[in-house]
């Protein structure tokens, strides 16, 4: 079985700074090996050579880097690849590449994608808002790999990437944020357009723009060239911090001025999630967002926030498809999703001693 043993990867367990709003931080460094064509132009031989070289370099990592296992896309069934995507351990692009592979650290805080758009995408995944720490983690792996791999690099352009949009530091940091307060208060769209002017890209996780289903957004840096790695990480951290603060004040305002509406919203979501028999994917995302808001605002004080994170991952299609087995069909999936949500909420309530 290629999927990680735990359903919820380490980065999504709900801890970390400002984790009530900033669910996770992901930072990746794009690297290519010197003397090898970039993945978009490599043939099968070149791809296996890169995989072999990177595999050897990963195996040679010092012991304090933790244990890695390498999973080749060719050895995985479609749903297993998709599950890795849903856990954010690999990108959708890697899942599509037959010559691709991923080296996963045992604690799942580091995933090294091999033969994605670049030879290497070194990703650090941490819970909460911690850009500087994510940089430190990815940087250490980068240094250790560079001890046995020579990278394509030029003084002018920095680390050379297949796309000129990634050249320079090869760094892209992104913070996944849950912003129901800003969306409900109508402040999300104007904030996002201001952020765009500051070189920050905002995109919805399950949809586009400020109408993203589930109020989940990825906030990331646009520019990878001309700034030092620390500057990029620090600036995204500061911006993330500001978004967190604004989300908090939006929630406070809503709770002070629209309390009944908020409580009604949360209660309806709770009612549907604990009773519905068919819950489609998009509806689950929207209701879970309301549920999480209720937990954060202590409208539902008996539920643990980590329940939300876990259900976010477990209600995704590939996860359910694996569970549905032979009978996989959208309606079967929706029924499975509804049952899973009811059971998990009931378990969480039993544990917290409610009823």
């Amino acid at each position: 079985m290629a999927t990680p043993e735990r359903v919820v990867p380490g980065w999504m367990t709900g801890g970390g700074p400002a984790a009530d709003i900033a669910l996770s931080t992901r930072l990746r460094l794009a690297r290519n090996l010197a003397g090898e064509p970039f993945p978009p132009r490599q043939d099968g031989t070149a791809a296996s050579r890169v995989l072999q070289r990177v595999g050897a370099a990963v195996a040679a990592l010092p012991q304090d880097h933790g244990a890695y296992r390498i999973v080749r896309m060719a050895d995985l069934e479609g749903p297993d690849r998709q599950t890795l995507v849903e856990q954010h351990l690999i990108s959708p692009l890697l899942a599509l590449r037959a010559t691709g592979a991923v080296a996963l650290r045992a604690d799942e805080s580091v995933s090294i994608m091999i033969n994605e758009e670049d030879h290497l995408r070194i990703q650090a995944l941490l819970p909460g808002l911690q850009c500087a720490e994510a940089l430190r983690v990815a940087d250490a792996v980068d240094d250790a790999l560079n001890a046995s791999l020579e990278y394509a690099f030029s003084e002018e352009w920095g680390y050379l990437a297949a796309s000129p949009a990634n050249v320079g530091t090869g760094l892209r940091a992104s913070v996944m944020m849950h912003l129901p307060g800003l969306v409900l208060a109508g402040q999300a769209a104007p904030l996002f357009s201001n952020l765009a002017q500051m070189g920050v890209v905002v995109r919805g996780l399950h949809g586009e723009g400020s109408a993203a289903v589930g109020n989940l957004f990825q906030i990331s840096n646009q520019v990878s060239l001309g700034l030092a790695e620390e500057e990029i990480a620090t600036s995204l951290q500061a911006i993330g911090r500001q978004v967190v603060d604004r989300e908090r004040s939006a929630r406070e305002w809503l709770f002070a001025n629209r309390r009944t509406q908020i409580e009604d919203r949360v209660a309806r979501a709770y009612g549907l999630l604990t009773n519905a028999r068919l819950v489609p994917s998009a509806e689950a995302a929207a209701l879970l967002s309301d549920l999480r808001l209720g937990i954060d605002l202590h409208v539902l004080p008996h539920l643990d926030p980590s329940l939300f994170n876990e259900l976010l991952v477990r209600t995704r299609p590939a996860f359910l498809q694996a569970a549905a087995g032979d009978q996989d069909h959208p309606a079967v999936r929706d029924a499975l999703r509804a049952t899973l949500i009811r059971q998990r909420i009931a378990q969480a309530e039993r544990r917290s001693g409610k009823d």
């Binding site: 010197a34 031989t45 692009l93 297949a162 001309g226 996989d328």
Partner: protein, 200 residues
């Protein structure tokens, strides 16, 4: 082609599913694919950027075409037209081959033209060697930080070429075409000699 689900919007994604050996295929538009959860949670941010880059290049094309009719990277064979289509480069040497095209493009996308971040240990060590070497050569201009590094495109081109020739040589040996293999070996040696000299 229209979307198999809504039969209205144009299809953008081809979805192939294999469930227990049963294969099913459909063409979906972005909206339906998203709704069905066929597109993963994490959308590819770079996809849009490639299109943008390709678009910028497209806009600049007429004048560039006049300058360099069918420019191609000598190391990996990437043609300018293909870069214009995909927004992706083929190898490190492409950055030299297409440098004139890339500089304004990168400046527009990145807002900067020069790397100010981390330098890999391999290049840092080499830059130091160069500095030491230049001290030993009286009268030579100090080669500064822009001196040739192992990652520089000229040596990269040579390395890519050598890699390609080695493969051809192996193929020739396998086919017992030893005359051709010997000729390839001589070319490899010549290239290796040159790239070493370029470094010394």
């Amino acid at each position: 082609m229209t979307c198999d689900n809504c039969h209205q919007r144009p299809a953008k994604y081809h979805v192939t599913r294999v469930v227990n050996g049963e294969r099913s295929e459909e063409d979906l538009c972005e909206e339906c694919a998203l709704q069905r959860g066929e597109l993963a949670m994490q959308l590819q941010p770079s996809a849009a950027i490639h299109d943008l880059l390709a678009g910028l290049l497209e806009g600049a094309k007429p004048s560039l075409r006049q300058q360099e009719p069918q420019q191609q990277c000598p190391a990996c064979g990437l043609a300018r037209a293909e870069f214009a289509r995909t927004g992706l480069l083929g190898c490190e040497a492409c950055y030299t081959t297409f440098a004139e095209t890339l500089r304004p493009l990168v400046r527009r996308v990145q807002g900067a033209g020069r790397h100010h971040g981390k330098v890999p240990a391999q290049a840092a060590a080499h830059a130091q060697d160069e500095a030491v070497a230049s001290e030993r050569l009286p009268g030579s201009a100090a080669p500064g930080r822009t001196a040739t590094t192992p990652g520089s495109a000229e040596t990269a081109t040579a390395r890519m070429k050598i890699g390609g020739l080695r493969e051809q040589m192996q193929a020739a040996i396998a086919a017992e075409d030893f005359e051709r293999a010997a000729a390839l070996r001589d070319r490899i040696r010549a290239l290796e000699g040159r790239s070493r000299d370029g470094h010394a």
